[in-house]
Amino acid sequence: MSFIQVRNVWQEYGDQTVLEGLRLNIEEGEFCALVGASGCGKSTFLRLLLGQERPSRGQILLDGQPLAAEPDASRGVVFQRYSVLPHLSVLDNVALGLELPRAPLLGRLFGHAKAEARAQAAALLHRVGLDHALDKYPSQLSGGMQQRLAIAQALIMKPRMLLLDEPFGALDPGIRKDMHALLLELWQETRLTVLMVTHDLSEGFTLGTRLLVFDKVRHDPQAPSAYGARITYDIPLNLDRHATREAVAALPAHVTERLKTA
């Protein structure tokens, strides 16, 4: 049985269909890169997996159980923006994830427990290269540092699933490369299941074990919002490079031209 099972999921907002008939199985430990045209519903799909929204039709199973209908600690997320809490220092942003589950009444730990949580958070921040900025506020960090903080914040929870919505979209190519290396390292260590939305096809190749392409199959010129997107291509990337390249070369032009290729 697959870790995540997406069974015929539709998502509709009013009379706008965004996703239609999504069927997908994802194994534990996979790194899926999600690509597709802007507005085709990639973020919507992540919101469904996160439990932020319920699908209009269909069902998502996690370990064979229906997905919890609200976000919880088993699913981490990094948004493109607003991922870290502006009123907490870098250290507290990460330590918060250790404090909240253990202190359901006050939301904070004291004394020894607090020191331990902070030490654990500092160790993880050291891993993502933020150990010199522990006392800074997020607004004092660069974009890349903020995203590294967001990743550390999500990982401290040891989630089974990590959802990334264009986490590096706003970063320049050099920093992006560093972030890729960091993310791969952390993923190989933890073997968690990652779903990452990206507009950068090469990013998908470097990181993913599997590439999912979202696209509309049906079009109605009179009612552009009548039909939603499906997963039109599902390409395993951990096969030999040759097969991968052939599969990607076979992608239709209208899919690839909207994406930045390597």
């Binding site: 996160l50 932020q52 609200e70 976000p71 919880d72 600690a73 699913r75 981490g76 997320v77 948004f79 923006r81 607003y82 991922s83 870290v84 809490l85 502006p86 009123h87 907490l88 918060l96 994830g97 404090e99 909240l100 589950p101 202190a103 359901p104 009444l105 006050l106 939301g107 904070r108 506020y137 997020p138 607004s139 914040q153 999500a154 929870m157 989630p159």
Partner: protein, 271 residues
């Protein structure tokens, strides 16, 4: 250079800021001198010496009847009412706004109510307050509370809704329940907004205080001003008004400094 791009230098800035005050002062002194030269008994524009005398009388000598220093008694009475009113309104406004802005189930019924209640002119229900709470301290404090709580609550509600939903989702993935989410994520982000809301509500709070004191009180800055009005005692009224203005300005300044000092992460406060 275009006017929009011209900025005053450092020394100019101070002079330009002082200029309007200086002009007003000169105009007043000239007017006062002219009227007093015309008629030494004139009460409308008292001279600086006359006002200094009045301050001496009110603030630095005992009142012959009560043996008290009226100016300081008035100040203490007014500040006490104002402080209590502001404190209660801050707590009530924060709680209502926070509940209404964060929890949809509360907001659905609380939000329309707040909107309507904030439309009631507080002074129009002042008689009701006097009838319900009596003529003493409580009704004056209540007027301030009723006058500014809805404004603060609506502001806080709005700010709570402006917190990006991503942050609320994020906190839930970090293991927050509703209560700890409010305690550790929403509330700390709203506190600087509360101080700013208070700062903006200060003007109304003073207005309601003076109004309540003018109508029913036996001490207080507003009471004194309206009392001596019967004798056209401008030499007392003007220093009192200046004193009230100074107090209000100091509170405004204090709140601003507090916002900056207590919430260094808050960018909006720096602007």
């Amino acid at each position: 250079m275009r006017l929009i791009n011209r900025k005053p230098g450092r020394s100019w800035r101070i002079s330009l800021a002082i200029l309007p005050f200086a002009l007003l002062l000169i105009a007043y002194l000239a007017g006062s001198a002219a009227r007093l030269a015309d008629n030494p008994q004139d009460k409308l524009l008292p001279s600086v010496v006359q006002m200094a005398d009045a301050v001496e009388r009110m603030a630095f000598s005992e009142d012959p009847r009560s043996g008290r220093y009226l100016f300081w008694d008035d100040t203490a009475a007014s500040l006490k009412r104002l402080g209590m009113g502001l404190a209660i309104a801050a707590v009530a406004g924060l709680s209502l706004g926070l509940l209404s802005g964060t929890l949809p189930l509360f907001g659905t019924s609380l939000s329309p109510l707040l909107t309507v209640v904030s439309m009631i002119p507080p002074l129009a229900i002042l008689p009701v307050l006097f009838i319900v709470f009596g003529l003493d301290e409580l009704s004056k404090v209540m007027l301030i509370v009723i006058g500014i709580t809805p404004v603060i609550a609506r502001d806080i509600e709005q700010r709570a809704r402006e917190i990006p939903v991503e942050l609320l989702i994020k906190a839930q993935t970090l293991g927050a329940n509703t209560w700890t989410l409010i305690l550790r994520v929403v509330l700390p982000q709203l506190l600087p907004r509360l101080l700013i809301a208070l700062q903006l509500a200060l003007g109304s709070a003073w207005l309601f205080l003076i109004a309540a004191e003018a109508i029913a009180a036996t001490d207080g800055l507003g009471y004194r001003i309206f009392l001596v009005r019967r004798y056209l005692a401008m030499d007392v009224i003007l220093p009192y008004v200046a004193w009230i203005t100074l107090l209000a300005w100091l509170m405004d300044y204090g709140l601003k400094r507090l916002t900056r000092a207590a919430f260094p992460w808050y960018d909006g406060g720096r602007a």
